[in-house]
């Protein structure tokens, strides 16, 4: 039996991107919520993510680097197609990344500037990722195995909707993280934010789901749903994803309001993200440059995939192990004085 290495690698990268969204999602979300918090609360908020954000962002590097390594053609088509939102994301990530340290070193105006940069950078990074997501689901113009569209192809009402949805989704993850890590007033605030954001995200996910069905005929056919006809034999096997999403959001709404919960809201938010993610994956697979190039069209040479698979099989459990260990070291409630020197 020979291994289908491209398929395995698609699975690995999909997992890396999912972990990125769930992990960096909450720290970007915490940044997005900065505007709603008092200065004292902001110190607790940064302290809750400062020890882990860098590791979280590394999943994005694995996503980008892994796409280059495993699917060079997809990397070469997708990156130019989303040139502007990716550059915007990188610029935003620079600002919010250095702001962790710089906030602690700035004096009056410097500190205020980096506080703003941290919040704005987090929001802009989330919005840009949402644009890339929307543009990806819409599909990319490919000719002769290269991107052949215009620089603003990604900008449509649909991608604006996904940008808004992803930003609200990250803010939801961020508020759930704060429910787990904060105490007192900030935790109560986080519960209120989480409940409102749950409702907003529920509406967004419903809208994105409906819009996704109409954005490309290939997706409509896959789900068996159109304006005129519903094909139950296709829809039924895929229905667990939306059902899981709905249940997770309902549970999230209830658990965020109960005063005894800590990690339950975050877990439910993660489940809702997983549902949305699986739904999109079902819609797009096996395309890695929708809807022209499949993962087998774009894969690197087998010996390259095999060499890296050895590395992943050895290193990924180690990485997951020490990532969990670091989270465990910094378990418990965050306090402002745990933060910066």
């Amino acid at each position: 039996m020979t291994l289908d290495l491209p398929l395995i690698w698609a699975g690995i990268l999909a997992t890396a991107v999912l972990l990125y969204v769930l992990l960096d999602g909450f720290d970007l979300g915490v940044g997005a919520l900065f505007a709603l918090a008092t200065p004292e609360e902001r110190d607790v908020m940064t302290a809750s993510i400062a020890p882990v954000w860098d590791g979280n962002e590394t999943w994005l590097v694995l996503g980008g680097g892994g796409l280059f390594a495993a699917f060079p053609l997809a990397y070469a088509v997708v990156m130019p197609a989303f040139y502007l939102p990716i550059m915007l994301m990188l610029g935003a990530l620079i600002f919010r990344g250095v702001a962790f340290e710089f906030r602690a070193h700035g004096r009056r105006s410097g500190r205020r500037f980096w506080t703003f940069a941290f919040s704005a950078g987090s929001i802009v990074a989330a919005v840009s990722q949402g644009f890339v997501l929307g543009g990806f689901v819409q599909g990319i113009t490919v000719r002769n195995q290269a991107f052949a569209g215009g620089p603003l192809d990604w900008l449509t009402p649909f991608s604006c909707l996904t940008a808004l949805s992803l930003t609200l989704g990250y803010a939801l993850l961020g508020s759930c993280w704060l429910i787990a890590k904060a105490e007192g007033d900030l935790q109560l605030k986080a519960r209120r934010w989480a409940k409102r954001l749950t409702l907003a995200v529920a509406v967004c996910m419903a809208l994105v789901s409906i819009a996704t069905l109409s954005v490309n005929p290939a997706v409509t056919a896959r789900w068996g749903v159109s304006m005129h006809h519903i094909d139950g034999s296709k829809l039924l096997p895929l229905s667990p994803a939306p059902v899981l999403g709905g249940l997770a959001l309902a549970w999230l709404y209830l658990s965020a309001g109960r005063e005894t919960t800590t990690y339950a809201p975050y877990a439910s938010a993660a489940a809702a993200f997983l549902a949305g993610y699986l739904g999109l994956a079902f819609s797009i697979a096996p395309y890695v440059a929708p809807y022209q190039l499949t993962l087998w069209d774009c894969a690197a040479k087998d010996n390259a995939l095999a060499l890296m698979l050895v590395g992943v099989v050895i290193m990924l459990p180690v990485i997951l192990g020490y990532t969990a260990f670091v989270y465990w070291i910094f378990r418990g409630k965050a306090k402002a004085e745990h933060g910066y020197h």
């Binding site: 200065p39 110190d43 400062a50 020890p51 860098d54 590791g55 590394t58 590097v61 694995l62 980008g64 680097g65 892994g66 796409l67 280059f68 390594a69 495993a70 699917f71 060079p72 990397y75 070469a76 088509v77 997708v78 990156m79 130019p80 040139y83 502007l84 990716i86 550059m87 915007l88 610029g91 990530l93 620079i94 250095v98 340290e101 710089f102 070193h105 500190r111 205020r112 290269a146 991107f147 052949a148 215009g150 040479k301 010996n303 390259a304 060499l307 890296m308 590395g311 992943v312 290193m315 990485i319 020490y322 990532t323 670091v326 070291i329 910094f330 402002a336 004085e337 933060g339 020197h341």
Partner: protein, 460 residues
């Protein structure tokens, strides 16, 4: 001037990678230095090492943060701006970069949290382990990225299949001909960069009358490092040059300003001109000296650039002058290192104002040498992105000129702000210097400063 996506993409890549390399060049050395300091603190229990660790870890945090965020940019630019390069070399270079993420980036990023915020949360043994992992991570990262870049200089172990490069022998790909000497050259350069910075900081404190036991200790440690590594670096660099001469003779000819074939001189000061295909020479050695340096034989007839078609030659001005600046700065480091060692040995180190000035002024020399060295080697590789295989002009993405111009302007603006602020904050730390009682991160003194900072943010 017409700015097409190719030119702008090249400027953007050069700008972003030059900005990026400043920080790894510093943190590779500083990471190892911190591991040494913490190790010495744990073994000797002398407070001076603990204070030095707690001081330099603050500088490390600032520099590392800037290195991380500017590094993320690099991992995307191969695709956004050089997609043809990505497609053609992905099956060879992809795994090297993949291994960098798996063995280095996660290690550094995860244990950095413990290193910066775990002083009170974990035991000394585990904290020291975290420091060593971060230091090791920076070295692993250098290993893989130098391997990938060296493959672009001296490709080996590959075959061409359907217009794309694939690996036929991974060991030959990873340990390609120029990799060992270039890896050694870069890691030594990083250590020297850190050593010179530490030396410069100690010189500043001595001149301001703020020298402490800590600053005197770090000055002696830095002198020891520079006095040994700076002369060694001359030999490593020479070895790297010999490899380049064997595999990339056009690069060496451009760096030396050689146009005609024959027994070559070493031009010390001159001005190469691509248009007239000559170098206006102000100062040079007799003929044969250059042949002896590069090929080990004063009688050797070495090719000048005219031996290759114009389309295959690199531009000369940048490699020529960047190389001279790099060597000049390297010689300066040797002088400062050996001079400091001599003063130290004769007990006159702390009294020598002249040396403290030299230490201060040569503090940034490592950064200058690293950037010049990279400019010489990367421009010297032109007109190829993968030497002899893929031309840079054929590697560019199908992106709109306006988009690349916008992103370049954006990067320049963002980096100008981030760099100015980062340098300002690092300088503020260096001006104060390590104190006899550095506070431990996360202790009881913190909330007061925190609240004060919050108040500042609220008011005014």
């Amino acid at each position: 001037m017409h700015l097409d996506p190719f030119i702008v993409s090249r400027i953007q890549f050069a700008f972003t990678v030059a900005f990026h390399i400043i920080f790894p060049a510093f943190t590779i050395g500083l990471g190892s230095y911190l591991a040494v300091l913490e190790g010495l603190w744990l073994v000797t229990r002398r407070a001076v090492f603990r204070n030095l660790y707690l001081f330099w870890v603050k500088v490390f945090a600032l520099a590392f943060g800037m290195g991380v965020v500017s590094g993320v940019v690099m991992s995307y630019q191969f695709g956004t701006n050089w997609s043809v390069f990505a497609v053609k070399t992905g099956s060879v270079l992809g795994p090297l970069l993949g291994y960098e993420v798996l063995t280095a980036f996660f290690l550094e990023a995860s244990f950095l949290g413990i290193m910066l915020f775990g002083w009170k949360r974990v035991g000394p043994g585990l904290h020291y382990t975290a420091t060593c992992f971060v230091a090791g991570g920076t070295l692993f990262s250098a290993f893989w990225i130098l391997s990938a870049n060296s493959w672009m200089q001296t490709p080996a172990g590959y075959a061409l299949e359907n217009g794309r490069y694939i690996a036929v022998d991974w060991l030959k790909v990873i340990f390609n001909p120029s990799f060992p000497s270039r890896f050694a050259h870069m890691v030594t350069a990083a250590y020297l960069t850190t050593g010179m910075t530490v030396l410069g900081a100690s010189g500043l404190l001595a001149l301001r009358g703020r020298a402490t036991a800590e600053s005197r200790t770090m000055q002696r440690m830095a002198i020891g490092l520079v006095a040994i590594l700076a002369p060694l670096q001359l030999l490593i660099g020479h070895e790297s040059g010999k490899v380049a001469h064997e595999y990339q003779p056009t690069k060496v000819a451009a760096m030396e300003g050689w146009w005609e074939t024959g027994r070559q001189p070493t031009i010390l000061i001159g001005w190469p001109d691509d248009r007239t295909e000559t170098t206006r020479v102000l100062l040079q050695t007799p003929k044969g000296f250059g042949s002896w340096v590069v090929a080990g034989d004063a009688q050797a007839e070495l090719k000048g650039l005219k031996a290759w078609p114009k389309a295959d030659r690199p531009p000369t001005l940048i490699p020529f002058w960047a190389f001279r600046f790099m060597v000049g700065l390297g010689l300066l480091m040797i002088g400062v290192g050996l001079g400091g060692a001599a003063l130290w040995a004769t007990g006159r180190l702390d009294r020598s104002k002249l040396f403290q000035w030299a230490a201060l002024l040569s503090g940034p020399s490592g950064f200058g040498a690293v950037i010049c060295g990279w400019m010489a080697t990367e421009v010297g590789r032109q007109p190829y992105v993968v030497f002899g295989l893929l031309r840079t002009a054929d590697a560019v993405s199908p992106v709109a000129a306006g988009a690349v111009q916008a992103s370049l302007a954006g990067f320049m603006g963002v980096y100008a702000i981030v760099f100015s602020a980062g340098v300002l904050y690092i300088c503020r730390l260096l001006v104060v210097g390590p104190q006899p009682s550095e506070t431990e991160p996360g202790d009881d003194a913190m909330p007061v400063r925190r609240m004060l900072a919050s108040k500042l943010e609220q008011g005014a």
